[in-house]
């Protein structure tokens, strides 16, 4: 009986490095989005003279959209992996991470 995944090993040792890196990049982006959104909302309201909000808002949108696409892609990849094997545990993990990402988006949307 061969096992494809060693349960004694930490999760990080079973995931490719690129996926681990992507997860941490997403986490860093979420932290940045929160901090920058709190700060940028204290900038003067936009007008012809005051353009302080332009760069931070555009950056916020760009990072947010990139994050959204990355999360969708990673969730889809998890679903594909779940279909291949260890269906129940991987589905729980996918719903868990998907749910947390949605919660982060909802919180960010409410706060900013």
């Amino acid at each position: 009986m061969s096992e494809t995944r060693n349960p004694a090993k930490p999760e990080s040792e079973n995931l490719p490095r690129l996926v681990v890196l992507l997860h941490w990049l997403l986490a860093a982006s979420v932290f940045f989005l929160f901090i920058s959104s709190w700060w940028m909302l204290s900038l003067p309201l936009p007008s012809e003279e005051f353009t302080y909000r332009e760069l931070p808002f555009q950056l916020h949108k760009n990072i947010g959209i990139t994050l959204f696409v990355a999360v969708i892609t990673m969730t889809a990849m998890r679903q594909i992996a779940a279909a291949r094997g260890e269906l129940v545990s991987r589905l729980v993990a996918a719903f868990g991470s998907g749910g947390s990402y949605i919660a982060v988006y909802a919180a960010d949307g409410l706060l900013s």
């Binding site: 930490p10 990080s12 040792e13 681990v20 941490w24 986490a27 860093a28 932290f31 940045f32 929160f34 901090i35 920058s36 700060w39 909302l41 204290s42 900038l43 003067p44 309201l45 936009p46 007008s47 012809e48 003279e49 005051f50 353009t51 302080y52 760069l55 931070p56 950056l59």
Partner: protein, 184 residues
């Protein structure tokens, strides 16, 4: 024999916990330094607030943002505080320091990965990276002390907090390093 095994397991768990703390604080610090970089890029001398322009608070904008007229005017004052309290050298200094901070934080995150994966040189590199972060905090603190009182009030408290966090981390990393040397 069993006690040595137990001791090793506890030491491994301690190092793992430390690595997790370095990672979580690292993420927060990375966001903080990146935001500072953005802040210094956006708010520069010669901009509209610096030229003495008054706030343009349209009623529809105020309603959309759920702001009072006074809050809208104070937002402009907020930018004016930063510009008035900053010495000439401060902006370029902060831009350089924040860039260094981003690089040092990324370095510490990579090192924390190494600690979790039990790579032996990582503990020595962790001392280096944490010391680097501490130096950057101290450099930021010294710069903030030399600015005006309004800017000092904004920066000093958070910088002091980061100095404490990195000092605690540095002591922990050095201690684990000493334990590792004694065990081997």
């Amino acid at each position: 024999m069993q006690s040595i095994f137990m001791k090793n397991e506890i030491a491994k768990a301690n190092v793992s916990w430390l690595a997790v703390m370095i990672m979580l604080f690292g993420l927060l610090l990375l966001a903080g330094h990146s935001n500072e970089l953005l802040k210094q890029t956006v708010i520069g001398p010669g901009s509209s607030v610096d030229l003495g322009m008054t706030a343009d608070c349209r009623a529809d904008e105020l309603e959309e943002e759920q702001l009072s007229l006074e809050e809208c005017q104070l937002m402009v004052s907020n930018v004016r505080i930063i510009l008035s309290s900053s010495p000439q050298w401060y902006r370029s200094y902060q831009l350089t320091l924040s860039s260094l901070g981003v690089a040092a934080t990324l370095f510490s995150l990579v090192i924390a990965f190494g600690l979790i994966n039990r790579q032996s040189p990582a503990l020595r590199l962790a001392i280096l990276s944490t010391a680097l972060l501490l130096i950057i905090d101290v450099a930021g603190f010294v710069a903030a002390v030399n600015t005006g009182p309004l800017l000092r009030a904004q920066y000093l408290w958070s910088l002091l907090l980061w100095i404490c966090i990195h000092l605690c981390m540095l002591v922990a990393v050095i201690r684990f390093g000493q334990q590792g040397d004694m065990d081997s």
